[in-house]
């Protein structure tokens, strides 16, 4: 599952956006860079969800990439105008980074966490969002961080 698709998902029980957690396996598959496609997707993105997803999936060596994603959603109209006028170069870093995270980054094995505590498994690149497959917060002892010995 790509981060673009993750951005569309909500918890089937609480209808809230899901955090990407416990990432065990990622795949980065190169795809043709199409800035106009990224710009068309921009107005539909939940920027906060995307930034959190990028932070959860970025490799340690990619910390620099994350800096290209500003805290606030970029001004879509300004970027659209720049694209129309052929002045898109100033946004190149941002759009390349968005392309990398939205289109090229595939989450293969991880969990999706609802703010209310439910977790959903992503296995083989396919998230299981059946409400009855939610791993409830009460049943998570097995994945809780080990206690630090004093």
């Amino acid at each position: 599952m790509r981060l673009l698709t993750h951005n569309l998902l909500v918890c089937p029980v609480h209808r809230e956006a899901l955090r990407i957690e416990q990432v065990r396996e990622l795949e980065v598959i190169a795809a043709e860079y199409r800035p106009e496609f990224i710009v068309r997707m921009l107005p539909r993105l939940d920027w906060g969800v995307l930034r959190a997803a990028a932070a959860a999936t970025a490799a340690a060596a990619e910390a620099g990439r994350l800096e290209a994603l500003p805290p606030q959603a970029p001004d879509v109209e300004a970027i659209q105008a720049a694209l129309r006028d052929g002045q898109v170069a100033q946004y190149e870093g941002l759009l390349q980074t968005l392309h990398h995270f939205l289109v090229e980054t595939h989450v293969i094995t991880a969990r999706l966490g609802c703010p209310h505590g439910e977790q959903y498994a992503i296995d083989g690149g396919i998230p299981n969002l059946l409400a009855e497959a939610a791993i409830s917060p009460d049943a998570m002892e097995d994945v809780a961080a080990p206690a630090v010995a004093s």
Binding site: M1, V10, P12, I126, L130
Partner: protein
């Protein structure tokens, strides 16, 4: 028979209708390994999928950016809309075994560089369409589906219809048994939907289930378009 719906359809991708059909025929995972009777699983033929998808991507001048395929099964309709030039297709199904096949089909398409599928985003979500679809309302321009016809679970096809209408902004393309046409129309009118039968499709249901005695059975199915704005 289905070709009757094709003349007003404009070409949206570099592929012709015949080419889309032929690429769909080449997908490695077109059959369910063990079709589930409770889910009424059967494959949408390449012929039907190519034509339904052509309708779905040909609305007034623009290709939809995002299409959702509800009850996607092995992903035939999702693959077809992508081959017709739609950049984002998300397939939803309750059965993860079917989705694994759909994902293999998607990977196969991506590797066939001649069809430029690297342009497209195809992803798969395991979820119950009727009971808690994990997608926000109005997330997609278009929903396409070949839903279960409701012969095992009464009116499940209309429950799919309702969910599709909440997820899409522009239109829903869906298939229902022709024998239920009057009922579907009444129900659509009651909901205030602008619904129209675009074509009658003959479905050749193979005898994949034990309770089908004949080698295959033709079932008449209507292709509906629901306009949402």
């Amino acid at each position: 028979m289905v070709d009757a719906i094709v003349p007003g359809v404009q070409k949206r991708s570099s592929l012709s209708l015949k080419q889309v059909e032929s690429v769909l025929c080449s997908l490695p995972r077109r059959r369910f390994e063990r079709p589930r009777i409770d889910l009424e699983q059967y494959v949408t033929s390449a012929h039907v999928a190519a034509r339904v998808a052509a309708c779905a991507v040909s609305r007034s001048g623009e290709v939809p950016e995002r299409v959702v395929d509800l009850g996607t099964g092995t992903g035939m309709l999702a693959a077809a809309v992508v081959l017709h030039g739609c950049p984002v297709a998300v397939g939803v199904d309750v059965d993860v075994d079917a989705l694994r096949l759909a994902r293999e089909n998607g990977q196969h398409l991506r590797r066939q560089s001649v069809h430029k599928p690297e342009h497209s985003v195809m992803d798969w979500i395991q979820a119950d369409v009727v009971d808690g679809v994990p997608l926000s309302p109005k997330t997609f321009e278009v929903a396409v589906m070949n839903p279960p016809f409701g012969t095992r679970h009464r009116a499940v096809d209309m429950a799919f219809w309702d969910v599709a209408c909440t997820l899409a902004t522009d239109a829903v393309y869906t298939m229902h048994k022709s024998s239920t046409r009057e009922y579907v129309l009444r129900r659509a009118r009651r909901a205030g939907h602008d619904a129209q039968v675009l074509a009658e499709v003959r479905f050749d249901l193979p005898a994949s289930y034990r309770f089908h005695r004949q080698a295959s059975a033709d079932v008449a199915v209507d292709l509906w378009r629901v306009r949402l704005r």
